[in-house]
Structures are given as C-alpha cells and as structure tokens.
Amino acid sequence: MRKRRLPLVALVLAVALFAAACGGSDNDNDEGTSGTGEGQTGGTLRVETDGFGWSNAFDPTGEYWGVAWSYYRNLLTRTLVTYRNTVGAPGNEVVPDLATDLGQVSDDGKTYTFTLKDGIKFGPPVSREITSKDIEYAFRRIATKSLVAQYAAYYTGTIEGLEVGAMPDHISGIETPDDKTIVFHLTKDTPDFLFRLAMPAAGPIPEEVGKCFTKPGEYGRYLISSGPYMIEGSKDLDISSCDSMKPLEGFNPDDHLYVERNPDYDPATDSKEDRANYFDEMTIDLNTNPKDIWNKIQAGELDAYTGSGTPPPDILKRYSTDSDLKDNLKVSPEDRTWYLTMNLGVAPFDDIHVRKAANLVMDKDSLRRAWGGEIAGDIATHLEPPSMTGGTPTAEEYDPYPSDNFAGDVDAAKEEMKQSKYDTDHDGMCDAPECKGVLTINRNVPPWTDMEPIVQQSLAKIGIEVDIREQTPDAAYTTIQTPAKNIPLGMNPGWGKDYSDPDTFVGFLFDGRNIAATGNYNYSLVGLTADKAKEVNFSPASGVNLGDIPSVDSDIDKCLDTAGDARNECWIALDKHLSEDVVPWVPYLWANVVTIISDAVTSWDYDQASGTTAWSKLAVDPSLQK
C-alpha cells in the first residue's frame, strides 16, 4: 500500500466546497480513493463488531485488547509518544505526541526527560490543560493492584520504585518538577522504553475523575478524552462529585461505543498526517451475527467492521477476483505468528528429533489454505514475523525446514525421526507408545477445525497419531497455559507483538523465569528447571529428563542489553537458535489482517502498531451511504 501525502487543509476545503456545491460527490470512481491519504470531512462512520474483546472493560490502565488500543491511539487517548497510525514499518515508528520530542535521554540511558506541548486539554467535562501530573497519575494507577494493570510488567522493575500494591502517593522514579516536565528514572538502560511509553496505560488520566474508580475496568465507562474524539455523552458528565457521575451514554461494554469530536482538541498540537480526523462521529454497535455484518458492508448499509474476525472465504474470493470490489478489500500484514506448540517436557516432544521431524513433515501450504490461501498471510518458516526485526529474514531468506511449496518433506522428516529414541527400529516412523494418541488441544471454530485433518495426516507420515480435543478458544488457551495438564501439542495458539521489539515476542515467550502455574505463555516450557517445575506443579512423565530442556534466558538478557542494529541482529540470532536448536514450535503462518469496507469509505489506512484499522485515517462520503 502506498500513501500519498497531500496538503490536507486545501484538499479538505476543496472537497467540502465540491460537496456543498453538488450535494454529493461521485469520486468513488477515482482510482485508489480508498486506501490512500485524502478524504472528506464530516459524516458518521458506521461500524459493527461481532464481539467486544475487552480484557478490562476499556479502562486504559488494564485494557489489553489490541483492537481497543486502536480506539485509544486513533481517537481517544494521546500519550507522550505514539505511533503514526499507518501501515508497515512507518506504523511501528514512535513519534512525539503529548511531548515536544522523543525525550532527552541521559548518557547512561537511565533518565528520560520529556516536555509537554502547550495547549493540549482534556476533553469535556474536564476541559483543562493536561499536565505532567496527569501522566504521573496514570503510572500511579498502573502501580495499583486493585486496578489490575495487565501489562504492568513493562514498567515494574524498569521505572525506579514502581511496584504493584496499594496506590502510591508518589513513584520515586517519576519526577514532575513543573506542569510541563516529566522525568523518568530507570533502574537500567532500557532501549525499548519509548515503546512502553506509547502503550495506552501510560496516557494521561485526570485524577479528579480517575480517583472515583477503584475497581478494575470501572473507569472505562467514564473515560476522559485527550484525543481528537470523545465518548458521546461526555459533555453531560457531572464531575462535581464521585456520586454524581453516571456512566457515559456513548459506551456500554456489552452493546456499543459511540464517539464524537472533542471540542477541546486543538489540531495544531497534533500531526494531521498521523491523525487525520475526517469523520464527525463513529458508531460501533455489537451484532453477534458476523455474517450479517459482512452482508451489510457488502450492501453498503454499514461502512466497516471492527474486531478480531475475518470475512468468510467466499467473500474474500469474490472481493479478490472482482475488479469492482478489489479496492474495498483491505489486506495488511499483522505482526503475528500462528503456530503449533510442542511441549519440551512431555513425550514424544521431549526429543528434539521428533520436534524437528514434525517441522519437516508439516504441510504448511495446506494449513494456510485452510485459512484462505495466500491472502491469509505468508507461510512462517521461523518464529518471529520478519517485520519485527527490520523485515528480515523472510521465508525465502531463512527456512531451516525447507520443502517444495512448503508442502512438507516426508523423506527428510523420516531421516530426522530415525535418530529419535521413540523410533525403536529406526525406520523413520515413530513406533513407541508415546507417539500413539498424542493429546492435542485445538479450538472448536474454523479455521482451526479445518486444520485438523492436515495436521493429523502430516504427523501420521512419521508415525505420530494425534488425538485432537476441541475446546472453545478461551478454554483451549486456559488448558495449554496450565503446565500441570501435560499437554504435548497445542494447535490453537498465535502470538502478536505488544510493540515492535522482540522483547514482546521471543524475549517474552521463551523466558524460563516467566513460566507460571496458570496463565503461562511459555507453552513449550523452554528453560524449565527442576525448581520451576516444582513451583508450577509440573511433573514430567517417566523417561522425560528435565535436564535436557534447553534455556535461552541468558540469550534474552544479552539482547535486552543491546540497542539499535546490534539489538536487531541479536534477536534474529536468537530466533535462529530457537528455530534450529530448541524447536519449540511448528510455525505456519505470519498472518494478514483482512477486512472489507463499503464504497462510502473514501480514505482508509491500517494501524500497524495496534494491528487493525487506523480509525483516524478513515473518511466517509455520506452521499454514498445507504
């Protein structure tokens, strides 16, 4: 996708004049009007979702749903630094937002000083200048146990004195010498600190409103805007006392989220290129029937979809083959890997030869077809999407388990299997009882269910018989996140970045110190020690030697201490080491985010950082709305 950057004010004026003169415009025939940088001002963007995936009811302190992050970043919440709300590598770049620049960093990398821009106010009913204290308050909330800041780990142990407990009056590592200045003192050099400041929890919150909400998620229904839009009904919020506040009518976490322009937002303090703010209003309604949503978008009765779903394959096929519809199909790379996870502590996957053979034999091409074919993404050949490490290495550049058309190499897989202790007669077929009835967890929804015969038949070629159990997506995660359940193989997981540093990918997922009894993300148990196993109630079956489980903890620490190109190189080397010498996964897809829009959407972009539509870049032409 290529972006055209035009002088926006002139364009908006021209479009407005044209629309006023003609009572509408027929510029939808212009090539490339959608998906590029210009759009007309005004109108209502009508959006529906088939499920609000709130993790903390839209309270920015704890909300961890990527799609919700796009609402904060594009519409409601500004942070000291933020992203450009666009596609590709530029979309993962950090730029100043509330702050005048990217901060003054001390030589030892442990002190960051930011100056706030003048003239940035909270939206109604607070409508006062945002100060450094409001940002400090957001961090005090992160440190408050009762508010359950779900990614507090990015700040604890990094910012001096920030520990999760009772709400602190002050955090020793955060100084606010005056209303315009905020200084962070870090415990160690943290090269990816700016990324952490760009997370929504670090956005300013007015204490006079926030102090009234002490339970997790509560503040979500009273969210005070610092961005170009605000939740509808904000003007009517009575903040004279905690008791007088009634939830904003524009937001009901089980039904709808409506936003309108924030009158206190001054575009001069922001970048028009990064937040274009075309429409006057955006309505998101819950519609539990996804088919109905896609049909309405096709019929033009709805403009866009929001959520974690993808249009069904027949719609994708029609939109990608029909030249009239092609412009309304939006395919963007997500920084996400879908994979099968193999448990290093459970037979037969405790044997690296079995894990390598599984990688060699897997028909990844068919797996991708179950997801919709090429449109679904690139076939994954190693753990991290190349976009996380500067676009390299791609599948062409690095594939430790190559095969023709990614369809699996049975001969190579058998050669590998011959070296396994579970192939007692060394014929390339796993013949030990451990390879029969291998318990495999899967989701009970497509496309995962469509993958089952492929996984089953691929692994059967090396003698592994899987016994697939389907669970709801949530339950499937809960099962594989509990080491005590001894699940050898999981077909359900995928991982997307929190921000574009591998610290939030391999650095987080394979850290043996992070293994937990529940909610464990290191499904493969890389780096599991005997002590840790005891702590998380994991008892290996007989014949499985915990001492054989490799650890990459020191490699991760090494990468965390480097910066710039060296950091990238370090993460790439770790990815290769994991792919070849640890082999925790069978990665198969670096996914795209695919969606469709209506003809009325005249400008569209993708928010690479949040992995979904860049709402602030969308424009609608009301004359084309049905």
Binding site: K291, P312, P313, D314, L316, K317, S320, S366, R369, A370, W371, G372, G373, E374, I375, G437, L439, N444, V445, P446, P447, T449, D450, E452, P453, I454, Q456, Q457, D467, I468, R469, E470, Q471, A475, T479, K485
Partner: protein, 325 residues
C-alpha cells in the same frame, strides 16, 4: 384412525359379514403384522432404514472399492486457492467439504456414527428406563417416590447445557472422567444421550406397571407362590412389550438429532469420525457458497429422522394397547 377401525371390524374376535368362513384365531404377531403392513408410510420408512443400515455396514467397501476415496483423504484438486471446496462432479457426487474430503463417503460413514450412537444410547436408555420403571411401578411406596422424583429432576434439567458441561469436562484429559469409565469421543456422547433419554421410557413403563400390577392374573400368579422378580419378568414385562417397542422407535430419531446437535456445537464425536451434525456445523459459515455441504448431510439427517418417526407411528398404531388383544 381409520385403518385401525376398519381392521378391528374384520378382526377375528368379532364375526364379520362373511360369517360362513372358517374363523381361525390370530396370534398377536399376525394381528400386528396385519395392521402394520397396511401402513404405507411406515413401510417406506422401514425400507429407508434398512437401506441406510446396509449402506452404513458397507461404507468401507463402497468407499474403497466403488468410489475409491477414503473418509479422511484430502483431495487438493477439490479445493481452490482460497481454500474453498468444489461442488458435485462426476467423481465426487456430493462434492467436497471444506477440508477437501469426499462428502458422499463422509455421509456414508456419518450414517454409521448416527446409527451406532442412536442404537447404543437408546439401548442404554431402554435398559435403564425399563428396569427402573418396572421397579418403581411394581413396588410403589418409597422406592417409587425416589425413582419418580429422580425422573422428574432429570427431565427438569436444562438438557443441552448439562450435556455441554459433561462433554466438556470429560474431554480435556486423555483418561476421560469418572475414573476413566467415560472415555472422550464417542463413549461420552453415547453416555450423555442415554442419560437424558431413559427417563422418558421409565415414566411410560412405570405408568403401565402401576395398572398391570392391579390385574387379577398378577394376584393369581402371586397366590401360586411366584416371587417379585418372577412376576416382574414373566407377568409384567411381556405386557409392556408394545409400549416399549413404540417408544424405543420414537426415541431413536430424537437421539440421532441429539448427537447431531452435540456435534453441531462442536461437542460430539472427534473430527476424524464423520458425523452429519458436525458436517452441518462445518457448512454453516459458508453454506451460501458451498450449498452441497449443507444440503446432503441435512437431507440424510432429515430422511433418517423422518423414517424412524414414520415407523414409530406405524408401530404405535399397530400395537396400540387401547385396541386390546
């Protein structure tokens, strides 16, 4: 019911207009057959069931030697580059499913699943239901109260929610639940269905037993010194055969649909075991494109259910206890 009325008019107990013919007594079986064979819908239903059983039994032979496609075989040429299945053609009469498997072969195998589940679950339900029903009706008192209230409780449970809970609880581990008695997959599905269908039989049997135990021949048998077990087995049970047969036949289609519903919800048999309910679930997201994925399994499920219901109705008419013997 006209056929019943006309048939009784010519029955052996009443002298018909052709009084001079030799009147021979008909056995109950002859009576039943005489009525049943006049019921054309029931006969068609029976024929379909027989055909289905033959197809189910021969499914491996048909798929291997006639169609040459396995039930879990993937056919790349039956799928386009978007992962969409292709429709019926000269080699795949019913087209392919989303995973590019032969739908016809899977429907044949699906008949096996449906029939196995229906027969085993119904067998379980009938065994339990008849045993408990007779005991409750025969002994009465506290035993009756306990069993009858248990029946009421089970019938009052939200069946589908309960079924979902049991299936989910028994499917996360390799061993299953209740100490490995209920294995995940087919056994747990059969158990759940049986668990929720026995009360229907038990209630009917209990009601009939209540009236039979007051009959004179029971008193006669008791005065001859027969014990409770003997009376229940030799005197009461034979008089219950008609309602048991009828209700069994009517429960079978219920159970087939129940299995389909569980499989539709993703709680039924594993994916490698073809099931009509699961096929319908797989068709749901894309049926407006791949209509064959919905039509054919749906048609077979519908016809099977209808056939069992027709046979059940026919049996009830032919065996209706109210017409006496």
């Amino acid at each position: 019911m006209s056929q019943v009325a006309s048939e009784t008019a010519t029955g052996p107990v009443q002298p018909g207009p052709a009084g001079e013919e030799v009147i021979t007594g008909k056995t109950p079986w002859q009576l039943f057959w005489g009525r049943f064979r006049q019921d054309k819908p029931a006969f068609v239903g029976l024929a379909f069931i027989v055909l289905l059983i033959i197809l189910a039994l021969l499914a491996p032979v048909i798929s291997r030697d006639v169609i040459h496609h396995g039930p879990n075989e993937l056919f790349r040429n039956m799928q386009d580059d978007f992962g969409l299945p292709k429709g019926p053609n000269s080699k795949f009469f019913f087209g392919a499913d989303k995973a590019s498997r032969d739908l016809l072969v899977r429907i044949l195998y699906g008949a096996r699943t449906s029939l196995i589940v229906a027969l085993l679950a119904t067998g379980f339900a009938v065994t339990v239901g008849v045993t408990l029903g007779i005991i409750a009706g025969y002994f009465g008192g506290v035993i009756d109260t306990v069993i009858a209230r248990t029946i009421d409780i089970i019938l009052a449970l939200p069946l589908l929610l309960f079924a979902i809970g049991i299936v989910a609880a028994c499917s996360t581990s390799k061993e299953g639940c209740l100490g490995g008695i209920i294995k995940p997959g087919l056994p747990v599905v059969i158990f759940v269905i049986g668990l929720f269908s026995w009360p229907y039989i038990a209630r009917i049997v209990r009601g009939n037993t209540l009236s039979i135990r007051e009959k004179e021949f029971i008193d006669a048998s008791r005065s001859l010194g027969a014990g409770n077990a003997r009376i229940m087995l030799r005197e009461v049970l034979p008089n219950l055969v008609a309602p048991i047969i009828v209700y069994t036949t009517l429960i079978i289609p219920n159970n087939i649909v129940f299995e389909a519903a569980l499989s539709f919800l993703g709680l039924g048999v594993p994916q490698t075991t073809p099931s009509w309910g699961r096929m319908l679930a797989e068709a749901a997201p894309i049926f407006d494109f791949a209509w064959w994925m919905m039509l054919f399994p749906g048609l077979f499920l519908f016809m099977t259910t209808l056939a069992f219901n027709l046979v059940g109705d026919g049996l009830r008419d032919a065996l209706d206890p109210r017409t006496g013997r």
